[in-house]
């Protein structure tokens, strides 16, 4: 029996997917009910029923909050969590580095720079919501990945964990200095630097949901199709080449998919740090490193993780709110040390 799981797919059985879906749905419902204003479960269902059936008499006093604020927000949070987590898992595979994540590598920072530049210097292309901002963020995310990989390759051919992380830190600092510079020049147009350094999904709408969903469907199918190649990368690039992986092409495909996802997420929610670090790591402890399981499971896990972090961020200091990035960074920084220590012992 184990042999068939390894070669044929190696993915989960349908029942396992069902369980993960159910768990995620549970967290979703909790997140919709609770918040700075708590809403009874009955009202939630009545509001949704009213919206779906169009029968106005079902609407309750909380319907506006539920339908227009809470549900789109929690949906955005769940989708962002799934996206960032998937990106983290993919990068950790490609780079054979358990500390890789959009935020630790500086890719999110690069995407923020793109978004800030687009906002400051105009050119809002007619495109989904954020307009040129989304496109610029994606392009900058990809360029950042290319720079970080190129630079760490130049510094250390074996691409060791520490080199990549150090390059990421240096790059992040570089990017944040440029963001500050742009903000100093652009002044009013980019109101708060904190929005780009401490992400928040507080005020997202259904258009944002649709944007992330589209990106996630597109990129996730691409990344999931490359599970076996990611397994090969996770055993070293030489090994991947030896077993017949088209290293350059697959890597490019994966990096583009990751850039698109990170770019979209950053342009909507800013930099929400460490989700892609914490969630795949915890998932890996449950599922093992095989990407056939890891990728899909970490999407569910990431969605739940960010929904809970967001729930915390909007209830802990109520009626005020913390940016969700504050919560994830707090958890993430602790996890970073833990994983770094552990991976140091092995490597």
């Amino acid at each position: 029996m184990p042999s068939s799981t390894v070669i044929r797919g190696g993915g989960f059985r349908p029942a396992a997917y069902g369980a993960m879906l159910l768990g995620t749905a549970f967290v979703f419902i909790i997140s919709v009910c609770l918040g700075s204003v708590s809403v009874p479960l009955r009202d939630v269902f009545a509001s949704v029923a009213a919206a779906l059936s169009g029968e106005k008499q079902l609407l309750t006093g909380h319907s506006d909050i539920i339908l227009s604020v809470r549900i789109p927000r929690v949906l955005c949070v769940a989708l962002t969590g799934a996206s960032l987590s998937l990106c983290g898992a993919a990068m950790q595979g490609i780079l054979r580095n358990p500390l890789a994540d959009g935020s630790t590598l500086g890719v999110s920072g690069g995407a923020s720079l793109g978004a800030v530049l687009a906002i400051s210097f105009g050119s809002r292309l007619p495109f989904f919501g954020g307009g040129g901002v989304v496109v610029t963020a994606i392009v900058f995310a990809f360029m950042s990945l290319a720079v970080i990989l190129g630079l760490s390759h130049k510094l250390d051919r074996s691409l060791s964990t520490n080199t990549i992380i150090l390059t990421g830190i240096v790059y992040s600092m570089f990017v944040s200095s440029i963001i500050s510079l742009v903000i100093a020049f652009a002044g009013d147009k980019v109101k708060t630097i904190t929005f780009w350094t401490m992400g928040s999904l507080a005020n997202t709408d259904y258009l944002n949901v649709l944007t992330i969903l589209t990106a996630l469907l597109l990129c996730a199918s691409l990344i999931l199709m490359r599970s076996r190649e990611l397994n090969a990368f996770a055993l070293g690039e030489d090994n991947a080449r030896s077993v017949g992986v088209n290293v350059k092409r697959v890597k490019l495909e994966l990096l583009i998919a990751v850039s698109i996802l990170i770019g979209v997420c950053v342009s909507i929610g800013g930099t929400i740090g460490f989700v892609g670090l914490v969630s795949p790591h915890m998932t890996r402890m449950l599922t093992g490193p095989n990407h056939k399981r890891l990728l899909s499971a970490s999407m569910f896990f990431g969605a739940c993780f960010l929904m809970l972090a967001d729930l915390l961020s909007r209830t802990i200091v109520r009626p005020m709110e913390l940016p969700v990035g504050v919560v994830t960074s707090f958890i993430g920084a602790v996890a970073f040390v833990f994983i770094f220590k552990k991976s140091g012992r092995v490597g």
Binding site: P98, T161, R228, N239, V243
Partner: protein, 253 residues
């Protein structure tokens, strides 16, 4: 099977490898020897298309650059000297990756017979018992055998080994070489390996190339190539004398 013509590799102005030509026929075990910096590993890197090179490498009459990566992998497999294991993959999962070249399609789980090949490779390398163990828990020898099993599962025509027994205990060294020796016996197979240990090159090789600073010093039968005449100037020392001196300590006991 394999033909290398006028192979050259340089980094900037530095010529790492210059004008190397050789052929490999089935049943042959080619040993590439030479001191540090002779360009041994660079030959392998060029073969795996891990670096740019001039000249031509052709496999069964066709330039290797024109093969798709997974088709090439069906014919040519590599074993590197160090393995980078970061994640706790199971031994079986690592070995199963060897079948990638034969069933690349992502939606289709695997070709018929893949499972048999993997099980066979595991039992050939004596890893059946360890199949469900995490690679992080293996000893150096077990890890090397895992990757050899992956190669066996990949089932290429030619296996290329980069110092396969570096840093392995003697017992594992012997195991690895015997495994390869058994593997090569089957029709249509050949091996190229880079070795540091000159005695091993003489013992197992059927053909040898001695390299020095990127150029061929000698090529032919191992006993002739790995001999005082060529070795002493290349290593600037009395190689065979030193070997005998080492061995004599055994006779004294």
């Amino acid at each position: 099977m394999l033909k290398v013509e006028n192979l050259g590799v340089s980094y900037g102005d530095l010529k790492i490898l210059d004008g190397l030509s050789f052929t490999l026929e089935q049943g042959q075990w080619l040993m590439i020897a030479g001191p540090n910096g002779a360009g041994k590993s660079t030959v392998l890197r060029a073969l795996s298309r891990g670096c740019r090179y001039t000249g031509q490498i052709s496999l069964k009459g066709r330039d290797i650059k024109r093969f798709k990566p997974h088709i090439l992998a069906q014919k040519l497999g590599f074993l590197s000297q160090r393995h980078e294991v970061t994640y706790p993959f199971k031994v079986r999962e690592v070995v199963a990756l060897g079948r990638y070249a034969h069933s690349k399609n992502a939606l289709y789980g695997g070709a018929a017979g893949d499972e048999e090949k993997v099980s066979e490779a595991l039992s050939l390398t004596g890893l059946s018992e360890l199949a469900e163990k995490s690679v992080l828990e293996l000893s150096g020898g077990e890890l090397q055998r895992t990757f050899i099993a992956q190669l066996f599962a990949q089932d290429p025509d030619i296996i290329v080994l980069d110092e396969p027994t570096n840093s392995l205990d003697l017992i594992y060294q012997k195991q690895v070489f015997q495994l390869i020796e058994g593997w090569i016996k089957k029709e249509g197979r050949a091996v190229i390996s880079v070795v540091h240990d000159l005695s091993l090159a003489r013992l197992y090789g059927t053909k040898a190339i001695l390299l020095d600073r990127g150029r061929v010093v000698a090529m032919g039968q191992p006993e002739k190539v790995i001999s005082e005449k060529y070795l002493n100037p290349v290593y600037s020392m009395d190689v065979s004398g030193y070997m005998r001196e080492i061995l004599s300590t055994w006779q004294r006991g």
